[in-house]
Symmetry: C2
Subunit: 227 residues, 2 copies
DNA sequence: TCTCAAACATGACAAATGTCACAAAACATC
DNA sequence: GATGTTTTGTGACATTTGTCATGTTTGAGA
């Protein structure tokens, strides 16, 4: 049967449905797997795009440096929705970096293999387009949430994002610093810290360093809605 | 030869490269063309997605209503980069509306035809993925520009966007109202108006109602960079 | 032409957010 | 442990941005 170790890998759902088990062996052999530790920037803005990369496990941030050397965070990606797809087919050079926020496993294929697959396997192509669309949709919609809310709404959105989409728990270890929340929302660090302190004082959340516990989720959602 | 009237249509560049002239006739016959006037909302948030639509000419805005019935503008699309692709493959219902800002020509195909094409014509699939990626990239990158700049930077970004990407001229008729700039940037209307007035007073632009003339483009770009 | 509604504009003031200064806590490195 | 660096936290104050009020201009339609 399949000797591939990526049994649990998300990308499997793209391959399995559309590729015969025999061919699957070939693709599994062509696959490289890389375990990176927290803080590793494994894709760098400006690098040539030679591989198709997929997040098997972990959590990452997509970020870029603007013309004034300010760091901006574009989005976060977890195994369910991250592939470096937004760049890979459009450009030949990455216009953002990707850095692990937690220990992560990256699978990669030579991009030629994937392009061949798209051209020769219609079902795969359709599935890939679906994945790209959903991923792009999510980034655009998250971005809009940040753009059109003010301070408390923005910070609430970030806390709720990790609770609802990443950890699926009202209690979690915040994988990013206050500074990174600022870089994501476009706010100043102090304002972010103050907002979190205020949520704490108002009994909406409990904070122990990076550990966040959402006490009054409805209240936090209400704040998100109204500011 | 080809009796199709869409000789000048942008989508042609997707089809022509990848479809034999004989098949092209079939696709041209299956195509519907719709001319909509300014202000027409031809795609509605919540509607079922049954067709693949493409902007042949004109200018549109992508927008949605949030839970408080506030109108938010996501992005603008012109013939070079607009297809309703971000939704069409991921979801079965539109999660945003599209409205014409100028008289526009919309081409549409039954979505089944396009999905068939993706599955049976590899070159087409690859080209479509490219188009989707580039379009999503642009929206994400524009959104980031708005997110991480303050007042003057945001407004300058909008004015420069129309000058550089839509009209390719430093003098143009602004296709949106001040209110719509506010909905796009997340600012209040008054603040937008004030900012434009200030640009005018500082000699960066001339304003005659909706007509904008950028006098000092470098100055405006500098403001964009620094705020 | 007249009328009404929407868009544009500006002032005065309130509220939100950023900046600067400083300190405590957390964390890495020796 | 000792030391230095980064992160978190808070106050005071300046600046930015929003809100409300009010008036003018523009544009569509009777």
């Amino acid at each position: 049967m399949i000797s591939c170790s990526c049994d649990q890998c998300e990308i499997k759902s793209i391959f399995f449905d559309t590729i015969s088990s025999k061919s699957l062996d070939f693709y599994c052999a062509a696959r490289k797997e890389l375990l990176v530790e927290k803080g590793t920037r494994f894709i760098k803005q400006g690098d040539q795009i030679k591989e198709f990369k997929y997040l098997k496990s972990g959590l990452v941030k997509l970020h870029k440096t603007d013309s004034h050397n300010r760091e901006q965070i574009i989005s976060f990606g977890n195994p369910m929705d991250f592939v470096n797809i937004h760049n890979i087919f459009g450009n030949d050079v990455y216009d953002y970096s990707i850095t692990a926020l937690e220990p992560s496993t990256i699978c990669s294929f030579d991009i030629k293999i994937i392009k061949d697959l798209v051209q020769t396997n219609g079902a795969f192509a359709l599935k890939l387009i679906n994945t790209i669309s959903l991923s792009a949709n999510r980034i655009i919609s998250d971005s809009l949430k940040i753009r059109n809310h003010s301070l408390y709404g923005k910070v609430a959105a970030v806390l709720l994002f990790f609770a609802d989409h990443i950890y699926v728990s009202s209690e979690y270890e915040l994988p990013i610093s206050r500074k990174e929340i600022a870089q994501y929302t476009g706010l100043s660090i102090e304002t972010v810290i103050r907002s979190i302190s205020e949520f704490r004082r108002d009994g909406l959340i409990k904070v122990f360093g990076k550990r966040i516990e959402i006490i009054d989720k409805e209240g936090l959602e209400l704040i998100y809605e109204n500011s």
